[in-house]
């Protein structure tokens, strides 16, 4: 024992770096780090030589040059006189728009299909199984291409909506007509939906570094206030219930508090809808939703919904049968059993894989390239890169942006996940 205790006092020898397990990990790490640094230097040296050979240098100055190209769908104001950086932002907002709408739609569809797959109805559950298997086992690219072809091939042309004098005289109807009480026109070029317009805006206020749209601010504030008031009403009701055992009826208060203020505000501002109208070649007015967007959204949600359905099904099945039996024994109705007993527990199983599906969906928005959707990889990674010839800068900037989107999503979702997980007791 004395020997063992004395061993560490041995003077340090170089060979211990290799043979002594206490020091070996330092050696290995040093070697790994050294190799890593060498590799980086080598790569950097190559880049330098290659750039020299082509007479280029790394610079992001091109982001502030005029872009010169037009983008079919822009969520923020953009013209071809704006700079490439603005085009990047347009692409980013387009990516985020598809990703957010897609996540919401895919979740709704997925939960719906997952629950129906567990239905006792033989026909329905089989139909849903077919849906899940077909969508999961065929490349997403096919769904993107197919939905795009279907939208552009089967929808009517704008001219089919036209009513000519001869038609009026003969009492004929045009080949196509607008849907939803003549407010939405779906053509083979896109979907024209009514745009909300205000008669009296509140104007904007310039804060020096950015301008704030006061109308938008007012609407957000009113909605936030309504939600807070609604929460207060519910908290009060719960307090009364705990004190007296009787829960007061609050739904009409909630409805009033939630909707009356915003309706009043919008009425005061003079909200009206600008309905698209056929003028010249196209429908004018309203908002044009490009088919590339719709097709990508459809394909992504249908595809991801198949995966989410499986997750939901697995989550529900993972709940012990005893749980639902206990709930029934307590006299809970099936719907209440689902919402109060099964779902809260299933959620804990469902959320982690759901996060990775959201991440997948967000990353898959880049498939819009195949149908020329102007997302981040279409503007920055596509046209900007191609017109400026800045491959390294554009591709790495694009990767960095996607990476930060992914990290943000997983951070937010993991935070949410922690809040629903069982607290360790």
């Amino acid at each position: 024992m004395a020997m063992a205790a004395e061993a560490p006092k041995d003077s340090f020898r170089l060979s211990m770096l290799i043979f002594d397990t206490r020091y070996r990990s330092y050696t290995i790490q040093a070697v790994v780090l050294g190799l890593f640094v060498l590799a980086i230097i080598w790569l950097g040296y190559n880049v330098d030589r290659n750039l020299d050979a082509r007479g280029k240098e790394l610079s992001f100055a091109f982001l502030w040059q005029r872009a010169g190209y037009d983008i079919p769908q822009t969520l923020i104001p953009y013209t071809n006189d704006n700079v490439h950086f603005r085009a990047l932002l347009v692409g980013l907002t387009n990516t985020l728009a598809v990703a957010i709408c897609g996540c919401i739609l895919a979740t709704i569809l997925g939960v719906f299909i997952g629950v129906l797959r567990l239905s006792k109805n033989w026909l329905v559950s089989r139909l849903m199984t077919v849906y899940v298997e077909v969508f999961r086992n065929v490349p997403l690219l096919l769904w993107v291409l197919l939905s795009y072809v279907i939208l552009t091939e089967t929808m009517p042309q704008p001219r089919d909506f036209r009513v000519t004098d001869e038609m009026l005289a003969a009492g004929e109807a045009p080949a196509a007509s607008m849907t939803l009480f003549d407010t939405v026109a779906i053509t083979n070029r896109g979907t024209n939906v009514p745009a909300p317009l205000l008669e009296r805006g509140l104007g904007t206020i310039d804060l020096g570094f950015m301008s704030v749209n006061l109308t938008f601010l007012a609407i957000v504030l009113v909605i936030a206030g309504s939600v807070l008031a609604h929460r207060f009403i519910r908290a009060q009701a719960t307090a009364i219930q705990e004190a007296t055992g009787v829960r007061p009826v609050t739904w009409w208060k909630s409805l009033l508090v939630l909707f009356a203020p915003i309706i009043a505000l919008l009425a005061a501002l003079g909200l009206h809808w600008e309905v698209p109208e056929l003028k010249g070649f196209n429908f004018q007015g309203g908002i044009l939703v490009a088919h590339a967007f719709t097709a990508l959204l459809l394909a992504l949600s249908l595809y991801t919904a198949a995966f989410i359905a499986e997750i939901v099904r697995g989550g529900i099945q993972a709940i012990n049968r005893g749980q639902s039996e206990a709930a029934f024994a307590l006299g809970l109705r099936p719907s209440r059993t689902m919402s109060l007993v099964i779902l809260p527990q299933a959620l804990r199983v469902i959320i982690p894989p759901l996060i990775s599906q959201f991440l997948n969906l967000t990353k898959n928005t880049s498939l819009g390239v195949a149908i020329s959707y102007s997302d981040l990889s279409g503007t920055l990674g596509g046209i900007t890169r191609n017109q400026t010839g800045r491959e390294i800068e554009c591709v790495f900037l694009m990767m960095a942006i996607y990476l930060s989107i992914s990290l943000t999503i997983s951070m937010v979702m993991n935070w949410y996940n922690r809040s629903v997980q069982l607290k360790a007791r």
Binding site: A53, R54, G55, K56, G68, Y69, D70, I71, P72, N80, V149, T152, E153, Q157, R159, N188, R189, K279, G280, F281, N282, Q284, L288, A290, H291, A292, V369, A370, I371, S372, S374, G378, G382, I383, R385, N386, Q387, T388, G389, E391
Partner: protein
């Protein structure tokens, strides 16, 4: 064990693609094969068939260069490139030469560090619309939806044209030519814009060609030509003069069929120099003295290439127009071979 394939492939590709840094001409000779960047598929200009045989106007120029450098028009490998990958492929040395309907512009010369060595097709951007749209000028297209291929100069020209004329349009981006045609035929766009040659080619293959018109406005100059890397002047000269040899051949009436006859009977010194019968002009480029003769014998002269691939009577059915020889009112003009 799995790594073996990796290293095997590494070794093999290094072997095959050789060194790009030395002169391209030497590389091509050492490799025994010309690597030519081509279109992924554009009927008439460069497209493979079901068995991978390439044909087209641009493809024949590649074959001519291969014939000049290597003496065999079949020693050429075609690497398909998209509008977006083409220049990177050339810059990185993946291809020796790019002949893919590429427009010569100042920024491509300067920023992209490329050299356009000649113009083998003078083109311009135009619009095609359906006749029943009732439009006779591009300036009447206010508010129209326009299909446009991304990664090209056409999208910039289009934006400029509409801005200059103070009218608006709704762009529909498409990835490739066949997708643009599909959308145009389906009516997803009112107008289809691309190079006039492409429009004519598309129109010619439509079942109801008489119902489509190409509008008179040509909104840009689109000189299309072969491209090489900046800085390799010798290689640029080889490609340039191979091309001019084809033009001179047409000027002098030398065809694939009569080349031997002409060589035997001609008194024209320029023809003799061109075909390698006198002087050592081709050798000064680092080529075999019969190089240009081989090129002409392999693919025919410029006029023949044009007629065979895109001329009147083919499915593309283009008139010579600007691409007629200068002696016939066109722009195709070769410097003297002396």
């Amino acid at each position: 064990m799995e790594k073996s394939v990796f290293f095997g492939t590494l070794a093999a590709t290094a072997l095959v693609s050789g060194l790009a840094a030395a002169g391209t001409l030497d590389d091509v000779k050492a490799r025994g094969e010309l690597i030519c960047g081509s279109n992924t598929g554009l009927t008439g200009f460069g497209a493979p068939d079901a068995n991978g045989n390439w044909s087209g106007f641009d493809v024949d120029l590649c074959r001519a260069v291969a014939a000049a450098v290597l003496g065999d028009a079949n020693k050429v490998k075609f690497v398909p490139t998209t509008g977006e990958t083409r220049f990177t492929a050339l810059q990185s040395g993946e291809v020796d030469l790019l002949v893919r309907n590429s427009t010569w512009t100042a920024s491509r010369d300067s920023e992209l560090a490329l050299d356009f060595v000649a113009v083998n097709y003078y083109d311009g951007q135009g619009f095609m619309v359906k006749k029943d749209l009732g439009v006779s000028s591009a300036k009447e297209l206010d508010g129209a939806t326009v299909c446009i291929q991304t990664g090209t100069t056409t999208e910039l020209n289009l934006a400029d044209f509409f801005k200059e004329n103070n009218i608006s349009y709704q762009p529909v981006n498409v990835a490739d030519d066949s997708e643009a045609q599909r959308q145009y035929i389906a009516g997803a766009c009112d107008a289809f814009t691309t190079d006039a040659s492409g429009l004519a080619a598309t129109r010619a293959t439509l079942p109801d060609a008489e119902n489509h018109i190409i509008l008179p406005e040509i909104i840009s100059k689109e000189p299309l030509g072969p491209v090489v890397r900046h800085g390799d002047n010798n290689w640029g000269d080889v490609v340039r003069w191979t091309y001019y040899a084809l033009v001179i051949a047409e000027e002098k009436g030398i065809t694939q069929a009569n080349i031997e006859e002409v060589l035997a009977s001609t008194n024209d010194e320029e023809v003799k120099r061109l075909l390698g019968a006198s002087g050592d002009m081709a050798a000064k480029f680092g080529l075999d003295n019969a190089a240009f003769k081989n090129a002409i014998a392999a693919v025919g002269n410029y006029g023949e290439i044009f007629a065979r691939n895109i001329g009147e009577g083919t499915s593309i059915n283009l008139a010579r127009g600007l691409n007629a020889l200068w002696t016939q009112g066109g722009l195709q003009y070769a410097p003297p071979f002396r």
